[in-house]
Symmetry: none
Subunit: 419 residues, 2 copies
């Protein structure tokens, strides 16, 4: 079954609002095995709306239209879809009563123009309003066209309550399941090369499929499978997930929603160890990543933001002579910081990250240089230097946190594949 989504609203074409509805609806449709082939955004112009919605209805079995159901003169979805369905608009008394009731409850007088929200294409199925706007379902050619409000809270209720069941009944037979294998310290192209034979084999069969995504220094491998049920689809996907994990080895940080911060949390918990951090270049991004993990207070002690060079000595306790001799962005300083913050906060593990976010180089180290230091109970402090060339200041600050998390993950689980 093929579906297309249409988002209506000039504010989307002006860029003042981001269309998050289409991604949300697409994810829900994928869960019931309905393929979404296209998203289209069109402005509040009845001719262009009719052209876009009509084109989608010719290509697809189902079209979900969001937006344009409000009470103002810009809200033209009802008009455009009635024209495509070849029927007039008719006023629904039950919706008129609903509008009066809504305004009465909030003690406001109802402006007359709100009554247009009670005008639906003749013969349309009414999707009961969540706020003031009713949705509706109408046939355009061979396609079912569902129109729902653009307000996410109203749209989400209506899609889950009315649209999905109707589509599943019409023929959302298969289920589509996607799982993510998340990696760090591997380039997208390197991952693709490692998995090329697997991808070729899967492409021949066509199900499951593999895709690659890169974000914030992480490469993600998405495995998507289809079958009659979610369980059957998972049975296709999970062996491939295991195969990918085996091929990528220690580069894998986790699955699905588990990022490197979750892997670090799990590895610390498994040893009953606590963590203290020292951040310079990342300015707080490392701590911010760590505390997103629920229950972080069980193992995260805290740390120091040693942004000004002298604070690396005065606050963290690094030997000032070493700091002078080696400079703030150096392996010796990163190692000393990791050991110092570990002692300073009475933690089992110390993690430090220093570097150069720019705009200018620092002490002869180029912009994009990041050095991570780790100190653990059963060994000396070790360091790892990475380069993030050609990145913005903020990217380097964020990626430095990712690099620190990955360095600690690898230090804590050098052999183990972190799952």
């Amino acid at each position: 079954m093929r579906a297309e989504l249409v988002a209506v609203g000039s504010e989307l074409l002006l860029g003042t609002n981001v269309d998050t509805n289409s991604a949300w609806i697409s994810a829900r449709l994928a869960e019931v095995g309905i393929d979404v082939f296209r998203h289209t955004t069109v402005g509040d112009n009845v001719d262009r709306m009719a052209e876009v919605i009509g084109g989608a209805a010719e290509r697809a079995d189902a079209v979900v239209v969001t937006g344009g159901l409000g009470p103002t003169q810009d809200d033209l979805t009802r008009v455009a879809v009635a024209r495509l369905a070849g029927v007039p608009l008719e006023r629904r008394d039950d919706l008129v009563d609903h509008l009066h009731a809504v305004f009465a409850r909030s003690g406001r007088r109802m402006p007359d123009n709100n009554l247009v929200q009670a005008d639906l294409p003749a013969g349309a199925r009414v999707l009961a309003p969540v706020g003031t706007a009713a949705g509706f379902q109408v046939r355009v050619g061979d396609a079912d066209v569902f129109c729902v409000p653009g307000v996410p809270a109203e749209m989400e209720v209506m899609v889950a309550r009315d649209v999905l069941p109707a589509l599943v009944e019409r023929g959302g037979l298969a289920a589509t399941v996607s799982r993510l294998v998340r990696t760090a310290g591997l380039s997208e192209s390197g991952v693709a090369e490692t998995l090329a034979p697997l991808v070729e084999r899967l492409d021949a069969a066509g199900n499951p499929t593999v895709a690659f995504l890169a974000s914030r220094g992480e490469t993600r491998v998405r495995i998507t499978g289809k079958s009659a049920t979610r369980e059957a689809a998972l049975a296709l996907v999970d062996p491939v997930v295991q195969e990918v994990v085996g091929l990528l080895g220690v580069g894998v940080t986790g699955l699905d929603d588990e990022g490197p911060e979750h892997a670090v949390a799990r590895l610390l918990r498994s040893r009953g160890w606590t963590l203290a951090i020292a951040e310079s270049v990342s300015g707080g991004n490392l701590g911010a990543r760590l505390v997103t993990v629920p229950g972080a207070s069980d193992w995260f002690r805290g740390g120091v933001l040693v942004y000004a060079t002298d604070t690396k000595a005065s606050l963290a306790g690094v030997d000032p002579d070493l700091l002078d001799r080696e400079g703030p962005v150096s392996e010796a300083t990163a190692a000393a910081l990791a050991g110092a913050v570990r002692a300073r906060l009475g933690a089992d593990v110390g993690l430090a990250v220093v570097g150069v976010a720019g705009p200018a180089e620092q002490g002869g180290r180029p912009v994009g240089t990041v050095v991570v230091g780790t100190a653990v109970p059963d060994g000396d402090a070790t360091t790892r230097e990475v380069r993030l060339p050609g990145r913005s200041r903020q990217q380097i600050q964020e990626w430095a946190a990712s690099a620190a998390l990955d360095a600690l993950r690898r230090r804590l689980a050098p052999a183990e594949v972190s799952m």
Copy 2:
């Protein structure tokens, strides 16, 4: 001049990623008076990509395509657009050299399949790569088709540097200018109510227009005006900006790209003061926001991440008896932390934020409680408590940083409207 945008990527149709690029590009095009008539999202399928990009090229004068320029087998934008342009792909030696240089700088071996990133449609104008992926501009029928990477940081540089100037040269005639008035500590509905008479007056005229946006605890007012030139449009917009600033008073943090962190930076610089911070609930988000400001090292000393309760005494130096008596999430503790971290790092100003991110309440304080303490040279430490009910753990951590920035901004500029 008519433009359309095409976003390429199956992850967008699966709903695992939200397309934010199209809104960003639309806003930039609007600023130079180019109307965007349609956004379309299509998957990694070369036939459907050619259909969608070809259709856009027939309707519009310019098409901006984002995504599908990576090194993997599902990156097919180069192939689809070459087909539409009726030219073969040809390998560019200069791009091959660039790819080798990028990998050499980061000390990694370049996988061979990266070389496909050097294959562009014959005769295309090269848009110099920001990361590894080059963009390109090619003629399809009467339309200029610009293909840029889907990675926002790379896309934004390339669109601003290469795409906009080319389009303006081709005929960005009318200019649309949008300016943002950014506020903190004010609700969207409160701002709308305060500005209702102004908005009514403007709606009657129709130009400029006013819109409201809410994000991360900030309410933003967008004023958009159109005229023949950018200067003339600004002449329409700026008086309204000043009027809005006057009506919203101290709630205004800044204009356009200036967030509360920039306002704080400016206010500290104007006094020649330095800042030290103590973060508990925000876990690093406050520091991360501050260091995004270029030149932060001139005024940001650093701080302490006092996540575990005992570190508020042992690391920051808060009186343990006070901590026991008042609890970690209290006005007394926030004030003591602000004063302690200010002394500890030898800074002029101390800023502390404590609170409860959840999932469970802490010491009888409900989830969403955030208390900010500020200590300045010319006064006692003061505190400000806010509630962020019904938010996720991560939202509370991020909003706590916004609340801290706003509290300090108001402390440093109680009377002044921060502009």
